[in-house]
Symmetry: C2
Subunit: 714 residues, 2 copies
């Protein structure tokens, strides 16, 4: 693999410390000490106007004075100095700079202007910037610890964060657990130049990184991140905490990093679509990222639980169910194998309670785990209770037997390609067997819910990965239909949105089933309408570029039957519209058959401020208005995305038929979602689509109302 | 306070170890060693057929041979020996026995019979039993460690559990945290004699216990537990993990302890009503119980957050919002005080970000916390980030300043009666300040979500406590109305449920508004019905003791207007009923006006297998059928319970008016719930009440359908 363009910045062979200092309280002193403490493999170049040497390193009066190439400048000086320093760096050909100072766009308008100036200078010379307002970075390959913190453990996880404080919390967790470490750590600061997606793109090429963990308050370029994530995720799990689930959280994020966290439902939808594993709690970040860096890819959601006590099994069962994981029944063959090991076990079908009646024996765990992992009904194994801490629970006489099982669990995990994870009450005491277990590649945790969270994340990742691999490259055809584009451009020229009649035409162009309709322009058209649409009850709706809210304007009549009633309805609608807005230009009224009964849905395309065009789908009526049971995805949609959107609804069961209704036609719904995606993707100037409601029948669907909004002509 | 009747059993002055042994592998040996290791203050009496001395204690050949009184027998022998041993204990006047052996009702039918025999013997002599199938007990007052585990830390928390394994997990947590300890620990086993509620009653009288923590798979006497909890909870927080949220969890609990976990929604409703604080994760059990044992009573849900970094603040804001806690705005006065301390702070209105721009200083935390806790807008304070670990983050030079703040936080917490809790990234390293913080009574945790969980539990507890104290003793009048009781007893005698007409009469007897109606027995009654009910559209429903499902039988006609239509509807209903069930005895048909529009509700009373009669209330239609948005309470209901039931619905906002509807009449709903509770409480033989639907209007309500089922006559 050829070297990534950010490689010299993240793994610099030379670091110039600008603002280097002999005073131990200064950042420019600490910077040198942390670099030295991590055994930096490159050259440390203190830059100081007068000192020849700082902390034992030869110092230079300026970057220009350094007699060889500089990869990275670690800028420890105040904000105001930065543009000039970057100018010097640029002239010297420095490849990247870490800007530690705050006081830029996060602080004030003056700061924003200063940041713009700094970025302009950097761009002119091609100096790439980390920050400003960053606590720094760490990368293990060169031992480049420019984070200002000591003792950063080295290992396979990359950390990226909008918050230095969150990074420090994670580093503390690595230090306490002492089981794994960090390949690259980036406090992204204001992302004035390099943003999350470029860092991720680099990590995709970094052999030392097996998984990446993000704390995100907001993306500066959401679509680019999505695109990069889709590319990287199948090879490397991306675990992310995203702020913005609550108004309180959004407010705090905005106040902190100036980020617009946006709608969390949108973030979740589009990021999961791109293969990102979302975590909702800070205490799940480390465990989930760590587990995903160790686990083989999980193929389904069926978990087996083994313990020597019913209480932890019960708690595990609750936690699994809460996370959509399934306690699948073990095969008769597996049960027979387990019975042979522990004839007195109180449960063997899954969960397996290897205690019960007798004192448990650690030797049981090997053959039981083997039998379970050989069972095709099972995708992962969770041990809960004492295991891993038998030496603490009993004494050292069981150490050898327990450690043999630990090694066997690791071998079984890799042989069968199924995650194994251990919850043990004694985790915090770090009994000797747990070191052996980790050595074998099996993660362990103190708490059941955390271990279950790791499995749920592994299952989510496995499914997303499979979807991404299966649908890679298979984007739908995007050629716009000429007539549809003409309608859109005509409306834009006239500075108006599309009429419902036009929206229906556009949908029809892409094969979306639109109910028959007649646009009545004069009273005389009523007869023709009845001639075409028949004696069934009709809906009649005003068509006017000036009337957006048709019902509010008295512009809708329902259940209109026969020519006489249709004429009357048309007249009344026109009269209402004139009363509502005397100046409104009325094209006519649209008559269309009332939709048959079915499940009310809403499908829309909107412009998200972070991610660009996204499609929204949900159950209609109170489900959208009260419950907001909706799913989002970025465009274009793949068929598997459409299916996951449907499955993701909390009350998706409504589609299977409730209150005596027949099951709704999900295949037709998938087709409709895909075609709406096509329409939106094919026409960049179509800003919004709103199909509300759509009625999904047991066979097919009815688009009852269709509204489209165009992007303003520039 | 006089001594509790269980006191001699839980704090025995003498313990006879039955099955005492010199072999270190035997439970009867370990039992003596654990008692001795906890410095048991009473007398250990090994019982052994031949040995004179075991582990240095004088042994006796039988309990009868012991020359003084025995409080407790610790029975380490096999199940089959237990009845005879209890016989001996009974004769000797032993007050209680711990039955360690398994192999009783949890194991087999033979075991169940054996358990019954043992209980019968014990009851004859008044020997109270802990277990069987228990891992034992621990009580700190006498140092009576009969748990079989060493090093059980002593402190203010009581632990009670259906699972010994869960107890051991909690003991490990106490040992690792080393901050608090256990007053009494009980592995309740099969609860063959003493059950959860009697243990709780004892704990209510135990001065050493400040809070009680339960793991429950099922109650044997739910109503007794509820009654005891109501009594104890206002003085001592009761924290509980209850199994049964999922089918998987119910299955595991049943397989483990044979418990019928029942409907979790019912458990949650009735236990919270009784003042119990529910936790849903195993990793919240210890922190929440510990925090509630330390905190002053929290008076509201308004929390202030202080940190020196925006990331942890954002995460705290998310976690608070997820738990219904509010980041209330600090008063202008408080903000001015904070501004005076940290002029450069990036946020001071709440959350308070004391960092931002400058390096944070630990001295800031004292005056900021003081200002916040003096603010009447705030009920509790949460610190997140570095605080508590400044010595780890920086160095020991800040230790003195940090520890002064720790002491001040404890003083402020108690002075203002507002909980204070600290989340610190460095908790696991146990820096010196955290010991000072604990000493001052302030809990700390490693993770934000755990700290927030403690505050949410404190707010829940504070509200429940206030409700229990306010409504103590104010039970509603329970005198049954004679006519209602007569209708119920007549139906019971006839072995049938109540007719809808009778159900409506009973509701009317208690002042529940029932729409006017006419029972038509013959065609001629149609005219009278129209005369009484008028020309408005009517609902017409079959009245027959033999037809339960009226709609299914074609026994319901809606929107019937005028006499002619009413006659036709009556005829059709009768014909349909005859076709549906030719043998059905038809009383007639009930005509009643169609209900006006409003919010559809469902109110019911059912017999819960664990808790007895409970009332259920929820939103109707899809809300109950798809979403199951319902709340449960035990009877009788207090007004505050009714209000909490309404507030507890996930989609309670529907009652405030959605889709343009007016707000529904919540006061009328409260009145209706209270009256339904009265009906159910006044008539013990009324087994079920089902008002479905009830339509709640902007003024008043309409009970559209009322069904009542009587208890079978014995």
């Amino acid at each position: 693999m050829s070297q990534h363009y950010l490689d010299p910045v993240i793994n610099p062979r030379t670091v110039a410390v600008i603002g280097a200092s002999k005073s131990p309280l200064k950042r420019g002193n600490r910077a040198i000490r942390t670099l030295a403490s991590a055994n930096y493999k490159g050259t440390i170049l203190p830059i100081h106007p007068s000192d020849d040497e700082i902390l034992g390193y030869k110092a230079y009066p300026s970057v220009a004075a350094v007699p060889f190439d500089i990869d990275l400048a670690l800028v420890c000086t105040a904000a105001a100095t930065v543009p000039d320093i970057l100018e010097e760096c640029g002239r010297k050909g420095v490849k990247g700079a870490v800007l530690l100072a705050g006081g830029f766009s996060e602080a004030s308008e003056e700061g924003r202007v200063l940041e713009e100036r700094a970025v302009a200078v950097a761009k002119r010379y091609g100096v790439r910037l980390i920050g400003p307002n960053t606590s720094g970075m760490f990368s293990a390959r060169m031992g480049c610890n420019a984070s200002g913190w000591f003792n950063v453990p080295t290992g396979p996880l990359a950390l990226l964060s909008n918050s230095a404080n969150v990074l420090l919390s994670l580093v503390a967790e690595f230090q306490f657990q002492a089981n794994t470490g960090i390949s690259t750590m980036l406090s992204v600061g204001n992302q004035a130049d390099i943003q999350f997606h470029e860092y991720l793109d680099y990590l995709g090429t970094d052999d030392a990184t097996r998984a990446a963990l993000f704390y995100v308050e907001g993306f500066k370029n959401g679509p680019a991140f999505i695109e990069t994530a889709r590319k990287v995720a199948p090879a490397k799990p991306i675990v992310m905490y995203v702020a913005g689930r609550s108004d309180a959280g959004k407010g705090a994020a905005k106040s902190h990093s100036g980020s617009l966290a946006g709608d969390y439902a949108v973030s979740r939808g589009v990021l999961q679509q791109a293969g990102v594993v979302m975590v909702g709690q800070s205490d799940h970040m480390y465990p989930v990222a760590d587990a995903l860096s160790l686990f083989p890819v999980m193929k389904g959601r069926r978990v087996a639980v083994v313990s020597e006590g019913g209480g932890p099994i019960t708690m595990a069962a609750e936690a699994l169910a809460a996370n959509g994981l399934v306690l699948a029944q073990l095969s008769a063959e597996t049960q027979a194998k387990i019975h042979a090991v522990v004839p007195a076990a109180s449960a063997i079908s899954n969960p397996v309670d290897a205690g019960g009646g007798t004192d448990p024996r650690v030797e049981y765990y090997g053959p039981i785990s083997k039998a379970i992992l050989e069972d095709p009904n099972i995708d992962a194994l969770l041990l809960v209770g004492y295991f891993g801490g038998y030496t603490t629970r009993y004494d050292d006489s069981v150490a050898e037997a327990e450690q043999a099982v630990c090694r066997e669990l690791g071998e079984l995990m890799h042989k069968h390609g199924k995650p194994v994870i251990v919850q043990t009450h004694f985790a915090n005491f770090k009994p000797s067997s747990l070191a052996v277990l980790r050595e074998a590649g099996v993660p362990f945790h103190r708490h059941i819910e955390v271990a279950v969270q790791c499995l749920a994340a592994a299952a989510d990742y496995g499914r997303a990965r499979e979807r991404l691999l299966a649908s890679a490259g298979a984007d739908q055809a995007l050629a716009p239909r000429a007539h549809a584009e003409a309608l859109i451009q005509a409306a834009r020229k006239q500075g108006r949105d599309l009429l419902e009649t036009e929206s229906r035409e556009i949908l029809g162009e892409y094969g979306i089933q639109v109910p028959p309709s007649v646009l009545m322009r004069t009273d005389g058209d009523a007869a023709a309408a009845i001639g075409k649409l028949g004696a069934a009850p009709l809906a009649v709706k005003i068509v006017s570029k000036d009337i957006l809210h048709k019902s509010e304007a008295g512009g809708v009549k329902l259940n209109v039957t026969g020519e006489q009633a249709l004429r009357a309805a048309f007249a009344e609608i026109k009269a209402n519209a004139a009363r509502y807005d005397a100046g409104a230009e009325v094209t006519g009224a649209l008559a269309t058959p009332m939709a048959a009964r079915g499940v009310e849905l809403i499908i829309g395309v909107t412009q998200d401020p972070q991610y660009g065009k996204v499609i929204m789908f949900g159950l209609g009526g109170i489900f959208v208005e009260v419950i907001r049971d909706v799913a989002f995805r970025s465009l274009p949609l793949k068929e598997a995305d459409a299916r996951e959107m449907i499955a993701e609804l909390r009350y998706a069961s409504v589609l299977d038929g409730v209150r005596g209704a027949a099951a709704a036609d999900k295949e037709a719904l998938v087709d409709l979602l895909m075609k709406v995606s096509q329409v939106a993707t094919a026409h960049p100037d179509l800003a919004e689509i709103d199909l509300n409601p759509v009625i999904l029948h047991d066979k097919g669907y009815s688009v009852v109302d269709a509204r489209m909004i165009v992007a303003p002509a520039s």
